[in-house]
C-alpha cells in the first residue's frame, strides 16, 4: 500500500462511524447510495500524481494531515463577524452554514415565489427525500473521483433549491459557508442540490470563508439540474484562509435551450482543486464557465473543467484567468468533448496565466475531443509575464514602476470579474482583488 492510501484507512473509519449514526434515520435509497459511495472511495483511494487527472496536484498533504473527523459543531460566528461577508446593496436570500451545519438563526430567507423551495439539505432529506432521489448523487454520477465519493458518503448538510416550472427567483440566493475554530483540523462536506425545472431561473452564490479556523479541509460538492429553457447563474467564491484545503465540484446537467453561467473565483486556500463538469444533454444548451484564481505564497490552485456536448447546437464559452505570485502553482485542464450527435456545436475556451514571479508556475492544458464534423471549436492558452512595453509606457507617463505593475495586474484579472452580471458581487470582488495588490489607493480610483 502506498503512503497516500495508508491515510485512507482512517477516513474509512470515519465513514463507518457516520454510517452507524445515520443508519436509522435515513431512507433506504440514501443509505444504499452512501454505501456505494463508501465502497467506491475504498476502491479508488486518494488519487496520486500517477493518475493523469491529478498529475500536477499532489493531495498527499490532505491525506497526511488526516482531516478524518467531520466538523459538526456550529459554534462561533456571530452576526457582526458575518456581516463583512454580505454583499453591499444586494438584497436577497441569505443562508448561513457554520462548520457545515445550516444555521437558521443566522440566515435570512426573504419571501419566495410559490413553487420555489430553498431549504437546508439535511432537512429536505428527512422531509421530502422522494423529491431528491432522482437527482442526488445521480448528476455527479460514477465518473467522479474519490473526493466526490467521500462527499456523497458523508454529506450531511448544504442547500436544496427546487424551482418548479416557470418559477423565477429574482433575488440571488447567497449561501455563506463559514468555518470557525471549532472546525480546525477537521473535514467539511457541504453538499448542494439545485433543481431548476423548465423555464425557471435563479442566481446562487456559494461563498466559502474562514472565521479564524486553522488548517481544515473543505470537500464541497454541488449538483445542478437545469431544465429546458431554464437559466441558472452560479457563483463559487472561495476566500478561505491561506492554510485551508479545498476540493470543490460542480456537476451540471443542461436541458434543451437551457443556460448555465458559472463563475469560479479563488482568492484563498493552500491547496485548491475544482472540478466543473457540465453535460449539454439536449439541443441548444448554453454553458458559460468563467474563472479567476489569484494565488500567492506556496498556494496551489487546480481547475479542471469538462464539458460534454452531447446534442446538437450547444454553445460553450470558457474564460479562465490566473495571477500567480511567489511560489504559487496553477493548473488548468479544460476538456471539451463533442459527441458524434452534437453537430453545430460552438465551443470556445481561453485560459491565460500571468506570472508575477520567477518561481511561480502554471500548467495549462486544453483537451478537445471532437467526434462530430460540423462544429466550431477554438481554444487558446497562455502563460506569460507582464507586458514590458505596457510597463514602460506607463512609467514614461510618470507612473511608479510598482504601481504600473499593480495596475496592469489588476486590469488583467478584472477582465474576468467584468463578466459578472451581479454588480454588488462584482464590486466586492474588485475590492478584494485590489486588497491583494501592493498599491491599493491609486488602483482603487479605477472603480
Amino acid at each position: 500500500m502506498n503512503p497516500v492510501n495508508e491515510g485512507k484507512v482512517a477516513y474509512l473509519d470515519t465513514l463507518a462511524a457516520f454510517a452507524r449514526q445515520t443508519e436509522t434515520r435515513e431512507v433506504l435509497w440514501l443509505r444504499a447510495l452512501r454505501r456505494e459511495a463508501a465502497a467506491r472511495f475504498d476502491q479508488l483511494g486518494f488519487p496520486t500524481t500517477r493518475n493523469e487527472e491529478w498529475k500536477y496536484t499532489d493531495v498527499a498533504p490532505i491525506v497526511r494531515a488526516g482531516f478524518t473527523s467531520a466538523a459538526r459543531d456550529p459554534a462561533g460566528a456571530d452576526g457582526a463577524q458575518l456581516s463583512r461577508y454580505w454583499f453591499e446593496n444586494l438584497p436577497g436570500h441569505k443562508l448561513v452554514f457554520v462548520n457545515g451545519c445550516f444555521s437558521a438563526e443566522r440566515s435570512r430567507l426573504g419571501a419566495l415565489p410559490k413553487g420555489a423551495t430553498v431549504a437546508s439539505l439535511a432537512e429536505a432529506l428527512i422531509r421530502q427525500p422522494q423529491a431528491l432521489e432522482i437527482y442526488f448523487g445521480r448528476i455527479a454520477g460514477e465518473s467522479a473521483h474519490a473526493f466526490t465519493a467521500l462527499n456523497t458518503a458523508l454529506a450531511a448538510d448544504g442547500v436544496y433549491i427546487h424551482l418548479a416550472p416557470g418559477v423565477q427567483v429574482e433575488q440571488p440566493i447567497h449561501l455563506l459557508y463559514v468555518v470557525t475554530p471549532a472546525a480546525g483540523s477537521k473535514m467539511l462536506t457541504p453538499r448542494n442540490l439545485i433543481v431548476a425545472e423548465e423555464g425557471s431561473r435563479a442566481a446562487v452564490i456559494e461563498h466559502y470563508v474562514t472565521l479564524g479556523a486553522a488548517a481544515y479541509f473543505t470537500n464541497a460538492l454541488t449538483e445542478v439540474a437545469v431544465g429546458p429553457n431554464a437559466a441558472v447563474e452560479h457563483y463559487r467564491l472561495q476566500e478561505e484562509a491561506g492554510d485551508a484545503y479545498h476540493v470543490g465540484g460542480l456537476h451540471a446537467r443542461l436541458g434543451r435551450d437551457s443556460r448555465l453561467t458559472a463563475h469560479a473565483v479563488d482568492l484563498g486556500g493552500r491547496l485548491v482543486r475544482n472540478d466543473v463538469r457540465a453535460a449539454l444533454e439536449a439541443e441548444g444548451a448554453e454553458c458559460t464557465l468563467n474563472g479567476l484564481y489569484v494565488v500567492g505564497g506556496r498556494g496551489h490552485v487546480d481547475n479542471h473543467t469538462h464539458i460534454d456536448h452531447v446534442k446538437p447546437r450547444g454553445t460553450s464559452r470558457e474564460f479562465y484567468k490566473g495571477v500567480l505570485d511567489g511560489r504559487a502553482r496553477a493548473v488548468f485542464r479544460g476538456r471539451i468533448v463533442v459527441h458524434p450527435d452534437a453537430q453545430h456545436t460552438d465551443a470556445r475556451q481561453v485560459n491565460n496565466n500571468l506570472l508575477l514571479s520567477r518561481d511561480a508556475e502554471a500548467d495549462s492544458q486544453p483537451q478537445l475531443e471532437i467526434y462530430a464534423d460540423d462544429v466550431k471549436c477554438a481554444h487558446g492558452a497562455t502563460v506569460g509575464n507582464l507586458d514590458e512595453d505596457a510597463l514602460f509606457y506607463l512609467r514614461s507617463r510618470a507612473i511608479e514602476a510598482s504601481q504600473a505593475r499593480d495596475l496592469l495586474t489588476y486590469a488583467f484579472a478584472r477582465d474576468v470579474l467584468a463578466r459578472i452580471a451581479l454588480a454588488p458581487v462584482r464590486e466586492r470582488l474588485e475590492r478584494r482583488l485590489i486588497e491583494s495588490l501592493m498599491h491599493r489607493a491609486p488602483v482603487e480610483e479605477l472603480l
Binding site: D387, E388, D389, A390, F392, Y393, L394, R395, S396, R397, A398, I399, E400, A401, Q403, A404, L407, L408, Y410, A411, F412, R414, D415, P442, E445, L446
Partner: protein
C-alpha cells in the same frame, strides 16, 4: 536644457548610436532627421529610459543632472516626455485613469497640488479639443482599438496635459493623413514657449512645414553628420539622404 555628449548606445548588443552629440536649449525646436536605421528612434528611447537600450559611452545632462541615472518615471516627473512612435495598447486600463495618474504624479513632482476630479475633467476636456479627440476616448482602454491617427492624437493629448519641459516626438508624423498631421502640429506649436524644448524625430520634412524648427540635424550611422536651419530639411526633401551620408562618411574618414 539638454546636453548630449559622445553618446554610444546598443540594442541587444548591437551598437546603434556611435558618438552622438547634441545641445538643446530652452525655447528651441530641433528636428532630427535621417534615413531608416540611422538611430533616430534609439535616441528617443534612450532619452526616455527604455531598459533594453544600453548606453555604453558618453553622457546626457538634462537640467544640470545626469539623465541616464534616473528611472523612466523619474524622467517623466522631471519634465521629459516621449511621444511614442508606436503607442502601446493597454487593455483594461482606462485612458482617463492613466491621464489622471500621470498628471498627478507630474504635478506632485512640480510641487503642485493634485487636481480634484472636477478640475481634472475640465482641464482634460480643454486639451482634448486641442488634440481633436472625442470625449468617449477618455473612457476607453488606453489606445485599445484606436486607429493609427487616433493613437498619435492621444500622444499629443498626453503631452498637452503633462506640459513637459522637454518633449521628444518619435516619428509622430509617420502614417498620418494631412488632417491628423495638422492636429499634431497644432499640439506641438501650442506647447512652444521660451521655457520648453522640443525634439522632433522624423523621416520626412513634411511635418516641418507646420512646425518650423530652429535647427535641423541629420543622423546617419549613429551620429549627427550635418546640422543647419530649416533650409537643410528642404534640401533633404529635394535630394534625399544620400549626399549627407556621403559627406558625413567623408568627414569621419
Amino acid at each position: 536644457m539638454l546636453s548630449i555628449k559622445n553618446l554610444h548606445a546598443s540594442v541587444d548588443g548591437k551598437p546603434i548610436l556611435k558618438g552622438l552629440s547634441l545641445e538643446v536649449k530652452a525655447g528651441e525646436v530641433h528636428a532630427i532627421m535621417g534615413p531608416n536605421g540611422s538611430g533616430k528612434s534609439t535616441l528617443a528611447n534612450v532619452l526616455a529610459g527604455r531598459e533594453n537600450y544600453v548606453v555604453t559611452q558618453g553622457e546626457v545632462i538634462y537640467r544640470g543632472k545626469n539623465l541616464l541615472a534616473s528611472a523612466p518615471e523619474e524622467r517623466a516627473r522631471e519634465g521629459v516626455f516621449l511621444a511614442f512612435q508606436y503607442p502601446v495598447e493597454i487593455p483594461g486600463v482606462s485612458n482617463i485613469y492613466m491621464l489622471k495618474a500621470a498628471l498627478n504624479a507630474v504635478r506632485k513632482a512640480r510641487g503642485e497640488s493634485e487636481l480634484d476630479a472636477l478640475d481634472f475633467i475640465a482641464l482634460v476636456k480643454e486639451r482634448m479639443k486641442l488634440a481633436e479627440i472625442p470625449e468617449e476616448f477618455l473612457y476607453r482602454s488606453v489606445n485599445e482599438g484606436f486607429s493609427g491617427g487616433e493613437k498619435k492624437r492621444n500622444e499629443i493629448l498626453q503631452m498637452a496635459l503633462l506640459e513637459p519641459r522637454l518633449a521628444i516626438l518619435d516619428e509622430t508624423d509617420s502614417g498620418l493623413d494631412i488632417d491628423a498631421l495638422q492636429v499634431v502640429a497644432r499640439g506641438v506649436n501650442a506647447l512652444r514657449s521660451p521655457e520648453r524644448a522640443i525634439v522632433l524625430v522624423t523621416h520626412y520634412q513634411r511635418l516641418l512645414n507646420y512646425i518650423v524648427p530652429d535647427y535641423v540635424h541629420v543622423l546617419a550611422s549613429g551620429r549627427i553628420v550635418k546640422s543647419g536651419d530649416r533650409t537643410l530639411a528642404q534640401e533633404l526633401d529635394r535630394q534625399g539622404y544620400g549626399w549627407v551620408a556621403q559627406e558625413g562618411a567623408a568627414a569621419s574618414a
